[in-house]
């Protein structure tokens, strides 16, 4: 049909209104669906970020809700672009008007070549739907998806509130083993002890003093505990090396002085010795020797006996130093024989020996004090109840420096036997290197002799002592134990062969072949 009937224009007008209405419905419906899809996507993204523990969790949690308005916008655009089925909206109008497909048929038949009949259909349809509005035909109902829209919104809100945040996680990091207050106290103690030390005189002493100053500064900076312990160990090694280089007798003259308590004649000597004034002590001995020689001092038998006892004790204390111990022993012998001349000579020899070694002993004393200071500091660091340990100055410690309390390992994320990672209580102050943990036996006293060497001693690194059992006896004992074990259960043939080969391989050359049958 080439020309349009007037009724067709009316039909088109109604259809245009219906299309507009339907487009609004599509926009609303698609927008809600888009928002719902965006919400679901946001929730899934947030959950995935939380589960994966990704670094972008926080940003995902805060930015993902934006997917809802984005989805809404995209949905609205899609809804506006959706194709509108003319027949669909025409039938919707028919249903609203109760016109039994009149309008839909009119739309469908509008171009039919039977113009007269089409006009009848159009007239009939327009008459029936004229009183029906497009809003009645296509009501704007809330989309069904709208009731589900709060679900992702609530889920996102809950995730934002309750999800673990990286900021929160940082609070779970292990707290330092020592608080800044603890480090400050350690620094103050060390500083006080450093101030009490004698002024350095040699270059080595100055170098050591500088190192100790650095350690004090380190404590001031709240270091990692393992760093402080490593610095202490390094300084201890340095002191030990200096003491070895010094070549002085490894004796404690102060302790020796404390042992001399019987003789009144030696009281001044003991006092000077305990003060560390070895030159003065030597002069006092020399003076006593002169007085004995010149008979200016009268000694009773009890005095000689007390002097003999004191020198005996001194000899015992100086056992590490051959020369001093020998001189002290001669003094003790002379005193016990009550021979004034002999005692005078012996005292002079001891005095001269002390004069010769005075400087070294004084330096050794300084090193010992530094080492003691470091020992105390190390014990304070190792002590878990720092400040209350009896040994290191506080009350809760059991005295061995390994008490529990403030210095326990705070985090279980790291572990091991190395000093530092929460294992300080188990550290005994040994070397920090892994090699200290090797327990391979050392060969000691291996003697060179003709022929095959079968005799050697096994010394464990801990005991540092010779084994009481030789290799043959050890082998025979192992064979007996293996036989006893094999009596208890049946070993598979292949495994017996393996055992046999093992025992044959470790059998000493002159062992009886019958011993090797243990594996069978």
């Amino acid at each position: 049909m080439s020309r349009h009937l007037p009724e067709q224009k009316s039909i088109e007008t109604i259809l245009a209104r219906l299309r507009t209405r339907q487009r609004m419905r599509n926009v609303a419906s698609s927008a809600v669906r888009g928002a719902l899809a965006g919400g679901i996507a946001a929730v899934m993204t947030s959950v995935a970020a939380i589960v994966a523990g990704a670094e972008w969790t926080t940003s995902a949690l805060w930015t993902s809700p934006a997917a809802i308005p984005v989805g809404l916008l995209v949905g609205a655009v899609v809804g506006a672009l959706l194709r509108i089925d003319t027949l669909e909206i025409a039938r919707a109008l028919d249903r609203a008007a109760g016109s039994e497909d009149r309008f839909a048929s009119a739309v469908d038949l509008a171009q039919h070549h039977r113009a007269a009949r089409v006009r009848l259909v159009l007239d009939d349809a327009l008459e029936r739907v004229s009183g029906t509005s497009e809003s009645a035909a296509l009501p704007l109902r809330a989309p069904r998806e709208l009731k589900w829209l709060p679900a992702p919104v609530v889920a996102l809100a809950l995730l934002l509130i309750f999800a673990p945040q990286p900021g929160t996680a940082a609070q779970d990091l292990p707290v330092p083993e020592l608080s800044p207050e603890d480090w400050a106290a350690l620094h103050d103690d060390l500083r006080q002890e450093l101030d009490e030390l004698d002024k350095p005189e040699s270059d080595e002493e100055r170098a050591l003093a500088e190192e100790l100053e650095k350690l004090a500064e380190l404590l001031k900076e709240n270091p990692e505990k393992k760093d402080a312990l490593a610095a202490i160990a390094r300084l201890r090694d340095q002191i030990e090396n200096q003491r070895k280089n010094l070549g002085s007798p490894d004796v404690s003259m102060r302790q020796a002085a404390a042992a001399m308590q019987s003789s009144q004649a030696l009281a001044k000597f003991a006092a000077l010795l305990s003060m560390g004034d070895y030159q003065a002590a030597a002069q006092e001995l020399e003076k006593l020797a002169e007085e004995l020689k010149n008979s200016e001092t009268q000694l009773s038998a009890e005095d000689f006996e007390a002097m003999a006892d004191d020198f005996e004790r001194l000899t015992a204390e100086l056992s590490q130093s051959d020369q001093l111990a020998a001189d002290a022993r001669q003094c003790a012998g002379a005193a016990s024989r009550m021979n004034r001349q002999e005692l005078s000579d012996a005292l002079k020899r001891l005095s001269e020996s002390m004069k010769r070694n005075a400087d070294k002993m004084r330096q050794s004393d300084k090193l010992c004090r530094s080492q003691s200071m470091l020992d105390r500091l190390q014990k304070k660091l190792s002590c878990k109840n720092q400040g209350e340990c009896k040994k290191c100055g506080n009350g809760k410690c059991n005295g061995d420096g390994n008490c529990s309390g403030a210095f326990v390992k705070r985090s279980d994320k790291k572990g091991g036997l190395k000093a530092g990672w929460g294992t300080a209580p188990q550290w005994t102050g040994g070397k920090l290197s892994d090699q200290a943990e090797t327990r391979m036996p050392e060969l000691d006293d291996a003697r060179e002799s003709s022929g095959q060497q079968n005799v050697f001693s096994v010394v464990s690194p801990d005991e540092k002592a010779r084994s009481a059992q030789d290799a043959k006896e050890l082998y025979a004992d192992m064979v007996r134990k293996a036989e006893a074990d094999l009596m208890l259960e049946t070993a598979p043939p292949a495994y017996r062969e393996y055992l046999k080969r093992y025992f044959v391989s470790i059998r000493p050359a002159d062992s009886a072949p019958a011993d090797a049958d243990a594996g069978e």
Partner: protein
């Protein structure tokens, strides 16, 4: 010159239909749906097969329709010994006025506007097939000569259910030629009371012809002028296709219980019957509801059930209900 469809034509159609229906209602108690379906088929130009147990008034209904219309009416009582020539007629020898003898065609009872084929399934299939040509072509061929039947031509057949004694099932080809198959069921209490009052007293019920032949032909023409939109035709086609078990869109019940689906004659019946419904509703167009309203009488006899359906006593009406629920109308949702 026939009348073009108009509001007036539709009004006349409705009025004639109503007049005929009222006249039939004088004698037939109840059976409104049965009468509507029979008249719908008649005005659409189709034959009707009425099925029901004996004594329900099938024959009376058809006789009443014939009396209410000014048409020629013949009744054929189908019996097992009825022969095809008894229906169609045959050539017999006549003595002419010149003393000679000649064969002349003697029309059978099929030559009428309205033929009642009473108890059609009591005749043998051979005799039943005698009316095939008449029903489809509206003509009868005897002795090599085709004789046109008068128009309008309807066959209104009654039959007893196949389970009854002494019945032969109608061939599928013949069943398919019936426009509608109308099931006649026993009536209720009120209807029985009406039957008692009308048939057991001495009151005479006079049925008068209310429609003549031309009026009926005009009504036929009006029915065919009703327009039908593409989407309604498409819906009718989908319904038909859904009766085919091999069709992918068919419901599960169809695939399981139907052996053969509806032929194209079925969709013709569907559309024409729906057009009558549209006219009765005062519309110039056919709606999907019209299709559904005539689906059962138009299609129930065209679906061949499977053995499984018969064993489980699943009727074609049940299958059609499933199909109508299954097939979606075009652009149903808005």
């Amino acid at each position: 010159m026939t009348q073009e469809i108009s509001r007036t034509a539709i009004g006349e159609f409705q009025q004639r239909f109503s007049r005929l229906r009222s006249e039939i209602g004088k004698r037939i108690v109840g059976y409104e749906a049965v009468i509507d379906q029979v008249l719908t088929a008649m005005f659409a130009g189709g034959h009707v097969l009425l099925e029901g147990v004996p004594g329900l008034g099938k024959t009376l209904l058809v006789r009443t329709i014939s009396q209410a219309t000014d048409l020629t009416f013949h009744r054929i009582q189908f019996t097992p010994d009825l022969m095809p020539a008894d229906i169609t007629g045959t050539n017999i020898i006549f003595d002419d006025e010149h003393g000679g003898r000649t064969f002349r065609f003697q029309p059978g009872p099929i030559f009428a506007n309205l033929v009642l084929a009473d108890e059609v399934n009591r005749a043998t299939p051979k005799t039943q097939s005698a009316i095939l040509e008449a029903m489809q072509e509206q003509s009868v061929t005897v002795g090599g000569k085709t004789h046109q039947l008068p128009g309008p031509f309807w066959v209104l057949a009654t039959q007893n259910p196949i389970e009854m004694e002494g019945t032969y099932p109608l061939p599928e080809a013949q069943v398919d030629r019936f426009f509608f198959k109308v099931d006649v069921y026993p009536q209720g209490e009120e209807e029985l009371l009406g039957i008692i009052q009308r048939t057991t007293s001495d009151d005479l019920i006079q049925i008068s012809p209310v429609l003549d032949r031309q009026e009926i032909l005009d009504m036929h023409h009006t029915v065919r002028q009703v327009m039908i939109a593409d989407f309604v035709q498409r819906y009718a086609a989908r319904v038909i296709l859904a009766t085919h078990p091999t069709n992918a869109a068919a419901p599960e019940t169809t695939r399981r219980y139907v052996r053969f689906g509806v032929s194209p004659r079925g969709v013709q019946s569907l559309i024409l019957g729906a057009k009558v419904k549209a006219l009765l509703a005062g519309r110039f167009n056919v709606s999907c509801d019209d299709i559904r309203s005539v689906a059962h009488p138009a299609l129930r006899h065209r679906m061949i059930r499977s053995f499984e359906a018969e064993a489980e006593r699943i009727t074609t009406d049940t299958l059609l209900d499933n199909i109508l629920n299954h097939v979606a109308e075009p652009a149903a949702a808005a």
